[in-house]
């Protein structure tokens, strides 16, 4: 274990090695690690941002869906109400139309009945006149006995 000039030479060897490593080895490796760390940090931030965006989009989608559901319910309500209305209206219209038809028919019947009665009355008065004329043997002057005939007709 003798100290000699080897010591000086070893210092030189060590310094050269140290310089080479400091100059050429450490910077690229250190840069790469720094860059990777930056990239990882960016990636994590991006992932977090993406997650946040996703959450936002989800809540927005939920809002849209629930709004759409409300709207749909509203439309369905409206439609059913409208259909009920239409049915009601149709019923009303139909009833009114029926009533009108019935009234018209009744009127018609009344008219027919009155006409028939008038007809009948005339025929009866005519028959009566003719019968009376036959019984009396002569012609009854319709114009002469108009008041009598009228009285008779109103009695029938």
């Amino acid at each position: 274990m003798d100290i000699n000039a080897t010591f000086i030479a070893q210092i030189v060897v060590f310094l050269i090695l140290l310089w080479v490593i400091f100059k050429f080895i450490v910077p690229p490796i250190s840069n790469m690690i720094d860059e990777r760390q930056k990239k990882i940090a960016e990636g994590l931030a991006a992932a977090e941002r993406g997650q946040k965006d996703l959450d936002e989009a989800k809540s927005r989608a939920d809002a849209v869906v629930s709004e759409a559901r409300d709207r749909a319910n509203q439309i369905i309500d409206q439609a059913s109400r409208r259909s009920n209305e239409i049915v009601e209206q149709a019923k009303h219209t139909a009833t009114a139309e029926g009533d009108r038809l019935i009234a018209a028919a009744k009127q018609q019947i009344e008219l027919e009945a009155t006409k028939a009665r008038e007809d009948l009355r005339r025929q009866v008065s005519d028959l009566t006149v003719r019968t009376a004329a036959k019984l009396l043997g002569r012609e009854i002057d319709a114009s002469k006995h108009a008041d009598l005939l009228g009285k008779l007709a109103s009695e029938i």
């Binding site: 100290i3 000699n4 080897t6 030479a9 060590f14 310094l15 140290l18 490593i21 490796i29 250190s30």
Partner: protein, 278 residues
């Protein structure tokens, strides 16, 4: 674990150990160079640069591979350690910690190679009996060199944080007080405090790796005994070597990483401490 040393003759255990603790040297006196330590550490430094450089190139080109992932794991581990201890621009300190950690792990790992492998290779290459210490961190020159750089960095960072005047002031007045009588004790204590750091750093790593290497050698001696013993008597020695060698190697993996980790963390602690104001 064959005896590949002096041609033919089997060395004694003492000779074997002392041979394995010898360096391949060039020069005389102080100007001696441990060729083995220098070449091993330089080759491992090149391998470390290649290893990290491939990853750095892939990182620059934005290509993701498993290899890069592994290097990133190491880098992130080191960088996290540094960031916990040092607040501020830590690019240089991360580089320092990464260099220390990866290089020391690489050098310490050499301890897991068989102790006789270098001798064997040298024998094949025709250099029979050559010394070759494969473990640069079991050479004090190697660990003290790193610790010295750390010491200089501690001083540089302290001066950068406090200015030359502030740092000198701290040497004179901390920890005892401002009184001029206390300047000398203050300086002495600060000197001890400052020098204790590199000494403990380098001695700890050196001691651990040297001891680990020595134990591998002792275990290898069991193999020696096995070759010397005849027939069935060799079996317990052989088994002993296999079992002890495996157990120690597994345990040593922990020491390899732990010592590298300690040598990485403590300089960062020292430097961040040096920047704090008293």
């Amino acid at each position: 674990m064959a005896a590949e040393h002096a041609a033919g003759a089997t060395p004694s255990p003492t000779e074997y150990i002392s041979h394995h603790l010898g360096h391949l040297t060039v020069g005389e006196g102080f100007w001696t160079f441990h060729i083995d330590t220098l070449i091993m550490s330089a080759v491992l430094a090149v391998l470390v640069v290649l290893f990290l450089g491939i990853a750095a190139r892939q990182a620059a080109s934005g290509k993701q591979t498993k290899f890069l992932g592994f290097v990133e794991l190491v880098f992130d581990f080191v960088d996290t350690q540094v960031s916990e201890m040092y607040h501020g621009d830590r690019r240089f300190l991360t580089a320092l910690a990464l260099t220390l950690f990866v290089w020391i792990v690489a050098m310490n790992t050499m301890d897991l190679l068989p102790v006789d492998l270098p001798g064997q290779v040298a024998g094949l290459a025709g250099y029979d009996g050559a010394h070759w210490r494969i473990l640069p961190t079991a050479d004090l020159n190697g660990t003290i060199a790193m610790a010295t750089v750390v010491l200089v960095l501690v001083v540089v960072f302290a001066i950068k944080a406090k200015g030359v005047g502030g740092y000198a002031h701290e040497w004179l007045t901390a920890p005892f007080g401002k009184n001029p009588i206390l300047w000398i004790p203050n300086i002495l204590l600060n000197l001890v405090e400052l020098l204790a750091k590199p000494v403990s750093l380098s001695m700890r790593l050196f001691g651990n790796m040297f001891a680990g290497e020595l134990i591998f050698m002792l275990i290898a001696l069991l193999g020696f005994a096995a070759t010397n013993a005849a027939g069935a008597a060799a079996v317990p020695y052989f088994l002993g070597q296999v079992i002890a060698g495996s157990v120690w190697a597994v345990f040593h993996i922990l020491i390899v990483l732990l010592q590298a980790f300690i040598f990485m963390v403590l300089p960062i602690v020292y430097i961040s401490m040096a920047q704090e104001h008293h």
